[in-house]
């Protein structure tokens, strides 16, 4: 393949990856999408999941990276992913991911309780917290799933 697309993966604290690749598959909110050179202009929200990087050809995955969410911008020449948190699948620690999921779950339960009882201003705040907790839980669960998928 002569044509490559410039793929960049950035987290708030640093640039994680910047290289020319044949294809990347990004988990968008409305489904995974593959980016090849010459892709149409696109801006999408990224859901928690795994980014597959195909460095040399479109057949073999060279890198799998877990992202907990973020945004992606695609132009014909490049694909930029602004991740909230990113971690190569190989580096996910099972016990950490499990405890994160458990913690998120228990907090969610507590918040649900709180939201049900709160009124007025407190209510909207509690609901906002609830949504954040839900997101954390989804991210933690996606991390676990990624781990299982990698094990197979």
């Amino acid at each position: 393949m002569a044509d490559k697309v410039k793929f960049e993966l950035v987290a708030p604290e640093k640039l994680l990856l910047s290289e020319d690749v044949a294809m990347v598959v990004v988990p968008g909110v409305e489904g995974n999408f593959g980016v090849l050179p010459g892709h149409a202009l696109l801006i999408s929200t990224v859901r928690p999941g795994i980014i597959d990087v195909y460095a040399d050809d479109q057949r073999s995955v060279s890198q799998r990276i877990f992202v907990s969410g973020g945004f992606a911008e695609v132009t014909p020449e490049r694909c930029t992913v602004l991740a909230d948190e990113a971690l190569p699948v190989g580096e996910i620690d099972r016990s950490v991911a499990e405890s994160e999921a458990k913690e998120a779950e228990s907090r969610l339960a507590g918040l649900k309780d709180q939201a049900a009882r709160a009124t007025g201003d407190d209510k909207s705040e509690a609901l906002a917290q609830l949504r954040t907790a839900e997101r954390h839980l989804a991210a933690a669960q996606a991390k676990l799933e990624a781990l299982l998928a990698a094990a197979h």
């Binding site: 708030p12 604290e13 999408f33 911008e73």
Partner: protein, 295 residues
């Protein structure tokens, strides 16, 4: 004239001060390197975010249902100043320059009949502004980013801002901090956070892909609703990182000067000490000799 013992004490005390300042200088130098690296590492994300937002915002800005974080409240009455200072002093003019700018901005806004509120980050800023403007301070945070500033810190501040903004407490938010240029030069910078100011370069960048229209997944406004608060956090994060590097740079320079001054002072004191010791010896000799002569 100070006695010899006084001089000796004085020299000893200056010497120990010098030891402290030179140690502080070295600590600041190593922290500076770390802070600089961190600031540098965070830059790509901020740049990409700006680019993405630039291409999005230009499309949406003038629509009636544009998010308020982008379009503003349509008013310009209440300003919130986010004053970012350090927790520790002894950093040369670092805090003073930020505070001077903050006060100047505050006065000029008040002259124009605006309401001003203050949000301080860092102990120094809080303590100084509390003296004259205690009623204006709505929130103060200290000890942010110890031992290390993380993105979560910035997100927390951004969330507090958005909450106040949504509650209609202010129309415009500006951050005042020191942009890091080099260890000896920091530039006080004022940057508007809310409503988000689309950078100049964005339009030019857009011209490259002229006529091309982005596809959005999900809808534009939905993405923007997620992107804007995040961008706010990114900008705060960048500002705090720059501030952190500036603080260490300013401290390093200040401590370097202090160390050098202490060295000079020790030299001077040593000369005085040696002279007066010599004078005392001479005086004693004269006394002995004239005593012997008188016999």
């Amino acid at each position: 004239m100070a006695s010899l013992k006084d001089l000796r004490n004085r020299i000893r005390s200056v010497r120990s001060t010098q030891k402290i300042t030179s140690a502080m200088k070295m600590v600041a130098a190593s922290r500076l390197r770390r802070a600089q690296e961190q600031a540098l590492a965070a830059r790509p994300y901020a740049e990409r975010m700006e680019r993405m937002l630039g291409s999005l915002a230009a499309n949406l800005r003038n629509q009636p249902n544009a998010p308020r974080l982008l379009a503003g409240t349509g008013k310009d009455e209440t300003h919130l100043l986010l004053v970012a200072t350090s927790d520790r002093g002894l950093a040369g003019g670092f805090n003073a320059s930020i505070l001077r700018e903050a006060r100047r901005t505050l006065r000029s806004l008040q002259r124009d009949g605006k309401t001003v509120k203050l949000f301080t980050i860092g102990r120094k800023g809080r303590d100084a502004l509390r003296r004259d403007h205690i009623k204006l301070i709505v929130e103060s945070l200290t000890e942010i980013g110890r031992p290390r500033l993380t993105f979560a810190n910035a997100e927390d501040i951004a969330a507090r801002l958005v909450e106040r903004f949504e509650a209609g407490e202010f129309d415009v938010c500006t951050v005042i901090f020191n942009r890091f240029k080099s260890a000896i030069s920091q530039i006080v910078t004022r940057q508007q956070l809310i409503p988000f100011a689309v950078p100049e370069g964005a339009d030019k960048d857009k011209a490259d892909v002229k006529g091309a229209i982005y596809e959005f997944e999900p809808e534009e406004d939905e993405i923007l609703a997620g992107l804007l608060p995040r961008n706010l956090a990114v900008q705060i994060f960048t500002a705090l990182l720059e501030n952190g590097a500036s603080e260490q740079g300013a401290r390093m320079t200040a401590m370097d000067n202090a160390t050098r001054n202490a060295g000079e002072m020790i030299d001077r004191l040593n000369i005085t000490y040696n002279r007066s010791r010599q004078a005392a010896i001479t005086k004693e000799l004269i006394e002995i000799i004239s005593g012997a002569e008188a016999l």
